[in-house]
Amino acid sequence: MSQTLEYSLFQRKQIAFLLSPDKAFAEMLQKLWSPDVIEFKVFEHGGGAIEHLFNEPPDLLVVDNRLSDISGKEIANLVKSENVYRQLPVVMCVDPVDVEEPWNWNKIEVDDFLVRPFNPSEVRDRINLTLCRAMRALDANPLSKLPGNTSIIQRIQQLIDGKEDFALAYCDLDYFKSYNDKYGFSRGDEILMMSARLIVNTIRSYQGVMSFVGHVGGDDFVFILPPDKVEDACQRIITAFDDIVPHFYDPDDRARGNITSVDREGNTKVFPLMAISIAVVVNTEARIEHYGEVSSIAMGLKKKAKEDPESCYVIDRRKA
């Protein structure tokens, strides 16, 4: 029951607020996890908790519908109606009589609910699941649904800490902005979805090895593979991308091999078809100690890769 953080489902200690006058319930929750894994801060009244909630938003909010001063629904809506707090997962606790009539879950945007009498193991796993789901949803790129920055940084740091050999590749698209300007953002999104799919499938085809694909945002993607696979992957991604991307242009632009669009300074300019640039940082013998080093090396390489208007990759194999 009292697990350590290392063996828990979470990367760091979770702070939870419980808003409930039910002392037995508070005691139960506090016993279900070691305070190093989930620490519950208990508030018997809703009113006093709100300011804390807004100043230091926790990782989880458990609201009891038995609150006397303010209804659980109202608290939940207060949190969910503010875009900066929306991602905070909320679990509603109710009595059987509360749910005799169906609730409008579109109006009460909680993430889960628990009905009395509480079964401790169910409560434990429902809350664990809610937290895990919220983490996945929070970090996923809204367009491609690939893991985003938090997961990317976490994964790289894990590999560094584990002193594992790995190759980290940063991909970005050349002339994506001019495509977007000419054809509009919804066709730009098509390009991003196509690129995401292409990278994911290429990386996934290396079976039985450590791998990862993330979407930093916009036209920036990241993938991780063992160092001996990365060059082959770069070549395959470039071949597939160069093969497929012309089909996303209108026939006349495609035949001409370029598009006419307006650049950042407002001048009309001719841009080549999109290409993909890949910058790869190889970490062997644990020469890199921190995530920051990886990204700064990669940014330098990226500049080099970008000098070539055609698709290309640059691999950094410097030794420690």
Partner: protein
């Protein structure tokens, strides 16, 4: 009355769920997807010989779920973008004809022959991406397959009419239903979100002069269909001679000598293709 028939046929056609294929290709592609060393090129090559599997793959990759609807008309690209798991899923969920296998073999051969012919014609005409023309050729009679699966009684009436009145399958369709598989193709292609070039070629291969946006592709499929019938490779549902529209040749700037060259190459390739005994 005729409108009622059209509406009900359309409803039946578009409600098609499990389109079966022939066992030969399905067995071969099943082996490939179970082989961890099989390349996507090898899998694409086999799928490109089967109109039902090709249609399913293109329908999937062009669905809005993937985020680039109607953009992909190449099987190889579709495989790269769908990935191994999805392809495997499509293969696993495809069944085989249990009743009509014999009757369907001729149509499969005809479709593969037409795909081969379209590839040759497109290259001869100097078009880019000849494999996309091959896809259009492969799918040009898909409406006949779906009719046979979804409306077996109607299909039987059509084939009976072909024999009784000595008509082409296309004429018999018009005789029985008032419209042909070109119309059915148009419904299917739109419903499945296939790319506009493939869609137009599928629905205009009997009247390429009416094609609006992708006339060259419609003309290539028209000529391919004609030539493969001339070769009597496979069977598209009748033994009548087909009609070749001169506009199609003009569109591609083809002379009779070009057709001769195309037919020489077709003869060579059909020798290879006929190893694929359906």
């Amino acid at each position: 009355m005729e409108e009622d028939l059209k509406t009900s046929v359309r409803g039946e056609i578009l409600s098609v769920k499990d389109l079966p294929t022939l066992p030969h290709v399905l067995d071969e592609v099943t082996k490939l997807v179970e082989d961890p060393d099989a390349s996507s090129e090898a899998i694409a090559k086999v799928i490109s010989t089967d109109q039902v599997l090709s249609a399913k793959v293109l329908k999937m990759v062009n669905s809005p779920i993937y985020g680039f609807p109607g953009r992909i008309s190449s099987i190889q690209h579709a495989l790269v973008l769908l990935g191994f798991n999805v392809i495997r899923g499509i293969i696993i969920s495809t069944s085989v004809f249990d009743m009509m296998e014999q009757a369907m073999k001729g149509l499969w051969e005809h479709s593969l022959g037409c795909a081969t012919a379209c590839n040759i014609i497109a290259r001869r005409a100097g078009f880019e991406d000849p494999e996309e023309y091959a896809v259009a050729g492969l799918l040009h009679d898909l409406g006949k397959v779906v009719t046979a699966v979804q409306l077996p009684d109607l299909h039987k009436t059509i084939t009976d009419t072909v024999k009784a009145k000595e008509l082409t399958y296309f004429q018999a369709e018009k005789d029985v239903m008032g419209f042909g598989h070109d119309r059915i193709n148009a419904w299917l292609a739109r419903h499945w979100g296939l790319p506009p070039n493939i869609r137009e070629a599928m629905s205009r291969h009997h009247a390429p002069q009416l094609a609006e946006f992708y006339k060259p592709m419609s003309c290539v499929v028209h000529i391919g269909d004609f030539l493969v019938r001339l070769f009597e490779f496979g069977n598209s549902g009748d033994d009548q001679t087909a009609y070749l529209r001169p506009e199609a040749l003009i569109e591609l700037k083809f002379k009779m000598s070009d057709l001769d060259k195309v037919m020489d190459e077709m003869a060579d390739q059909f020798l290879e293709v006929s190893d694929l005994t359906f």
